[in-house]
């Protein structure tokens, strides 16, 4: 199966700090790919690079056959109408109701009559279980509900791909379960390709078809969830099994105990 997104030799840095140092990655069509890694490894940056909000220093990113860093603004916007992105906070427009938020991309990009737009919105809201919340304002929603509304908005234009930025962070167990279930169901029902960055290991592993672990600007390991659980790589093992000590040490570098506790100069 061909890859929808393919990344070759990606280099990206912020100031003097290198975030990515030669990353190669293929994201297969129609599957859920989870990109995991500790906080601060640039997972969100990777999503922004795929979406064309940031431009790589070196290397290429191809989305559906188009080099994303070489597109004009117009072509990039045309490609983005076929992509949805779910931000960590939901990023709903706070001056619009739930209904108008989901309607927003439809009103901007289609000339559909109001009656058709209404049906589409209600269908999208039904898919995330929030048809009854259409008249609420974003400030009246819980964090989990806001993310579900943002999901409905992201699928409003029936995209080919959805990018999820930390979809599970800060959710209670029930809304976490709802989101896990929704991501899987939307992916299969609408024949989407989903890319999810997360550090919530059990939830991501439970629905991903394909997992890629990154740290320190490189891909440490990639494969199916089963392959990663059985991995011999000590780093992957520590991360997947949430162990407190390992290649990422519990103690950060310090003077020796003799010096600190007994006052002995070496």
């Amino acid at each position: 199966m061909s890859a929808l997104v393919s990344i070759r030799n990606l280099h990206f840095s912020r100031g003097d700090r290198a975030i990515f140092n030669g990353v190669d990655l293929d994201i297969p069509r129609g599957k859920i790919t989870a990109i995991m890694g500790p906080s601060g490894t640039g997972k969100t940056t990777l999503l922004k690079l795929i979406a064309g909000q940031l431009v790589p220093d070196r290397g290429e990113i191809t989305v559906d056959g188009q080099r994303i860093d070489q597109l004009s603004t117009k072509e990039l916007y045309a490609l983005r109408t076929r992509m949805g992105m779910l931000f960590q906070s939901g990023a709903l427009l706070t001056d619009l109701s739930v209904y108008e938020n989901v309607a927003y991309p439809l009103r901007e990009h289609t000339g559909l009559p109001e009656s058709m737009i209404r049906k589409l919105i209600l269908m999208k809201l039904e898919a995330v279980g929030l048809r009854g919340a259409r008249n609420l304002m974003p400030a009246e929603l819980s964090g989990g509900m806001a993310r579900r509304v943002a999901m409905a908005r992201a699928i409003a234009l029936d995209p080919m791909m959805i990018l999820y930025d930390e979809p599970f962070t800060g959710q209670d167990p029930i809304s976490m379960g709802v989101l896990v279930d929704l991501i899987r169901r939307l992916n299969d029902a609408a024949h989407l390709t989903s890319v999810m960055v997360s550090h919530d290991v059990p939830e991501s592993m439970s629905i991903a078809d394909y997992v890629c672990v990154i740290s320190g600007g490189k891909i440490i390991e990639k494969g199916s969830p089963g392959q990663l659980r059985a991995s011999n790589n000590p780093w992957t093992h520590q991360f997947i099994h949430a162990e407190s000590d390992g290649p990422v040490p519990f103690h950060i570098g310090a003077p020796s105990k003799e010096v600190d506790f007994l006052g002995i100069d070496e």
């Binding site: 979406a51 983005r80 990023a91 427009l93 706070t94 991309p105």
Partner: protein
């Protein structure tokens, strides 16, 4: 050497920011069609930056006019020239105080709000979300706000002037017994439409551009944290006030020199 380098760095930063601000202004001016497609948004902004600023502008106008009436009367009466009080009040307001004080109040009341609003939208990823929905945040958010500000400031300045004249009339004629007829007649004959009023309007349009531009730029470029937004809001008020006062001197020198 370090001291020298830090001056250089500051200089480069100032130039870079100026460049970015100019690019943003160009992007706004290049997309005025946003005004037509977002006409409802424009009207909503006209309400929030213009209509909601009316109260502070009106009250300030009345008080400034009253102070002008008092001070003008005290000084002019020493030379037995109270009859020119109307001219004194109207010319000061139309030429200087109206445009300048309105712009300063606008920067504090509406400019800071614009910066905080755009900065907060940036911090809550709403700007990124718009980009991801293939909507240009400049034409969706900045264009209607910019033109609403540019239209509002001259109208608010006109309101300020009118109420200022009434405030001055109340003090001069009502309390100090200046003759009503001479008050209005002198004003009418001595305040020149082209030289005074048109120049005043030009000033307030320029100030409207400056204040709204600075406010939107600071919001758009704000560091997306609570501290960053608070700094950006402060910078909006400080930079707008300084730019308005500096520009006022330049415009006055250009307009009123013979």
């Amino acid at each position: 050497m370090n001291w020298f380098a830090s001056i250089g760095r500051r200089g480069i930063n100032v130039l870079r920011n100026l460049g970015r601000a100019l690019l943003l202004l160009m992007a706004i001016l290049r997309a005025p069609h946003g005004l037509v497609t977002r006409f409802r948004e424009f009207l909503a902004q006209l309400y929030s930056v213009g209509v909601l600023s009316l109260l502070i502008i009106s009250v300030s106008g009345v008080f400034v006019g009253m102070v002008l009436g008092l001070q003008g009367y005290y000084i002019l009466s020493r030379f037995a020239a109270e009859s020119t009080l109307g001219v004194f009040i109207a010319a000061s307001l139309v030429r200087e105080l109206g445009p300048v004080v309105t712009a300063l109040l606008f920067a504090g009341r509406a400019g800071s709000a614009l910066t905080a609003e755009i900065g907060l939208m940036k911090a809550t990823e709403q700007l990124s979300a718009l980009e991801m929905m293939a909507v240009n945040p400049v034409s969706r958010l900045l264009v209607p706000r910019f033109f609403a500000g540019v239209v509002s400031v001259p109208l608010l300045a006109a309101m300020f002037n009118a109420l200022g004249v009434l405030g001055g009339y109340f003090v001069g004629v009502g309390l100090m017994d200046v003759d009503t007829g001479t008050f209005w007649a002198q004003m009418q004959s001595q305040v020149d439409f082209d030289k005074d009023i048109i120049n005043g309007v030009i000033k307030s349009v320029v100030f409207g551009v400056i204040c709204t531009w600075i406010a939107l730029f600071q919001g758009y470029e704000a560091v997306p944290t609570s501290e960053g937004i608070s700094r950006a809001t402060t910078r909006t008020v400080v930079h707008s006030s300084l730019a308005v006062l500096g520009m006022d001197f330049v415009l006055t020198a250009l307009m009123f020199g013979d």
